[in-house]
């Protein structure tokens, strides 16, 4: 039951999150903006369009969108859903989840390089740089929680207990860190501008400039899924474990949509960072993960 609900949420919430971010930005700007369901309309249209493929690309370009989507979708099946239940769960599934994200990203990067376009190469190199900083923070954070809880599965990872301030520190530092990573992986201002028309400043957008039709739909859905994944992690972190199932079913979408509202507000109020300053900003996530590790040692007297 919970598994079915998780899959249903997977199909709708990512688009809804995108829609909410756009609505918040529109409201903040005093304009009408895209309708809430626009991401659905766009995807449905793209699935029915043809595609144009450069003759200079190889099988990598052809395969990457579907592969990236498949990997991301599978990662979401492992991610904690309603009431921290997972569709796929086993000891060590954290590692698989994070590596699936890495696989999706890897294929997107080499697909961008495959086009031979200078911008897509630049976008890929920027994206790779940001990943280099963000992924260790994710691993440190997940690793800390895993050592403390003694489990390597998302379902049990978030049962923060004991040691005075440990749960609060872990939850706050973790939530902030995960939100920053949500902004990064979702390519939001202040890290990236999803609506920019300046090819030299694009990061994620530029990597998909050459994709069309269903491939484009896959990549856009995969990007939205990634955002949703971090929202589920935030939900798992901050929601108490022992809420009734009915409440849990609503709590996760509410948290996800609240994350979307917050992301929309951040996008509306901040200017975009100069690209050379983004890595400095991302080190914040590393710092927050290290704080979590330090807190575990301090409040619990060690991670063992």
């Amino acid at each position: 039951m919970a598994r079915t609900l998780n899959i249903l949420l997977l199909l709708f919430l990512p688009f809804l999150m995108l829609g909410i971010i756009n609505r918040v930005k529109a409201l903040a700007g005093g304009r009408k903006g895209f309708p809430l369901l626009q991401p659905f309309f766009d995807t449905l249209k793209l699935l029915r369009k043809g595609a144009v493929v450069s003759t200079v690309t190889s099988w990598v370009f052809a395969v990457a969108p579907a592969l990236a989507l498949a990997a991301t979708f599978t990662a979401l099946l492992i991610a904690p859903g309603v009431g921290r239940t997972q569709v796929i769960a086993f000891d060590g599934d954290i590692v698989l989840c994070l590596y699936l994200l890495g696989l999706a990203k890897f294929f997107q990067l080499i697909s961008a390089l495959d086009t031979g376009s200078a911008f897509e190469g630049m976008g890929a190199s920027r994206e790779a740089l940001f990943s280099v900083i963000v992924e260790p923070s994710l691993f440190i954070f997940a690793g800390t929680l895993a050592l403390v809880s003694g489990h390597m599965s998302f379902g049990e990872l978030f049962s923060l207990s004991g040691g005075s301030a440990w749960p609060t520190v872990a939850a706050s530092a973790g939530a902030i860190m995960l939100f920053l990573i949500l902004l990064t992986e979702g390519c939001r201002i202040p890290i990236d501008d999803p609506n920019t028309h300046l090819e030299l400043t694009m990061i994620h957008e530029v990597m998909i400039l050459d994709n069309s039709g269903p491939d484009l739909a896959f990549l856009q859905y995969a990007a939205a899924l990634k955002m949703y994944l971090f929202a589920t992690l935030i939900a798992a972190l901050i929601l108490p474990a022992d809420i009734p199932a009915i409440h849990a079913a609503f709590a996760l979408p509410v948290v996800a949509l609240l994350c979307a509202v917050l992301a929309g507000l951040v996008e509306s109020l901040l200017a975009r960072f100069r690209i050379s300053h983004v890595p400095q900003f991302l080190f914040l996530t590393v710092a927050l993960s290290l704080i979590t590790l330090a807190a575990a040692i301090y409040f619990r007297g060690g991670v063992a």
Binding site: A26, R31, K32, G33, G50, E205, L209, D210, S212
Partner: protein, 254 residues
């Protein structure tokens, strides 16, 4: 800092035009030409028309060549009066010719909608790719204005995208210089099917006042038939938005 910003934001309220399909530009706007049946344009008026749009036999203005400059309307004893009716979009080149005695309603009734399949596919999501083929930047600025907070055609799911591969329609501005002919062809070929071709402005439709220049190369249009013609110089953003909405069968905004 945030408070000054919020204060500035509060003062402005919401700037969106509530309904672009019914909004009217100021009465001074030079739009649809009302040509009286009696009286004929003088030879001076015809010679002064920058786009050579004004003809006698029959007395008519070709909106595909007309820059809506108003010089014919300002001439002495002119049978021509430019109204501010701005829904000028058409789907056929010959429908752009306005003969004497044609009312705006008759003119507008000629504008057809797109085929059913096109309307079903693009009705709620249409992405445009702009090619400025020697446009003077006025059309480009008005095209940009269609996505601003004022006119906001995003509310209909219509947007301008960064890559032809992401687009459903190519919108051309400018008379198409020889130096841009290849780029226009490449962009069109890079747009996946099904796709639409939209011409914005007198220069794009007919070459406008540049039509006689040997620096142009308009062969692209011999092989590719446009789907939507948007006359003007530059066309008002409302003209652009409504031309596209009408084609999609959404002229009520629904």
């Amino acid at each position: 800092m945030v408070f000054r910003l919020l204060r500035a934001r509060w003062r402005h309220g919401s700037q969106a035009v509530p309904d672009p399909t019914t909004a009217m530009p100021d009465p001074m706007f030079r739009g649809f030409p009302d040509i009286a049946k009696e009286g004929a344009p003088s030879a001076e008026m015809i010679a002064a028309c920058p786009g050579a749009a004004l003809t006698v036999n029959p007395v008519a203005i070709d909106l595909g060549k007309c820059h809506l400059c108003g010089s014919c309307a300002r001439a002495a004893n002119s049978p021509i009066r430019l109204t501010n009716r701005h829904h000028l979009g058409q789907t056929r080149r010959d429908a752009l010719i306005v003969t004497a005695g044609t009312s705006f309603e008759e003119y507008h009734a000629r504008a057809e909608k797109g085929r059913d399949e096109i309307r079903r596919l693009f009705g709620r999501s249409l992405k445009l790719r702009s090619v400025s083929a020697a446009g003077c930047n006025a059309c480009e600025m008005e095209l940009n204005a269609t996505t601003n907070a004022n006119f906001d055609m995003l509310r209909y799911g219509i947007d301008i995208v960064a890559s032809p591969r992401h687009a459903d329609a190519v919108i051309v501005t400018g008379p198409v210089s020889a130096n841009m002919a290849d780029a226009l062809e490449d962009t069109w070929n890079a747009t996946p099917a099904p796709k639409l071709l939209v011409l914005m402005g007198a220069c794009a439709i007919s070459g406008g006042l540049f039509a006689a220049s040997p620096a142009l190369d308009r062969r692209f249009f011999k092989d590719h038939a446009p789907d939507i013609y948007i006359p003007g110089c530059p066309p008002h953003p409302l003209t652009v938005v409504n031309a596209i909405l009408h084609y999609l069968g959404r002229e009520n905004g629904r």
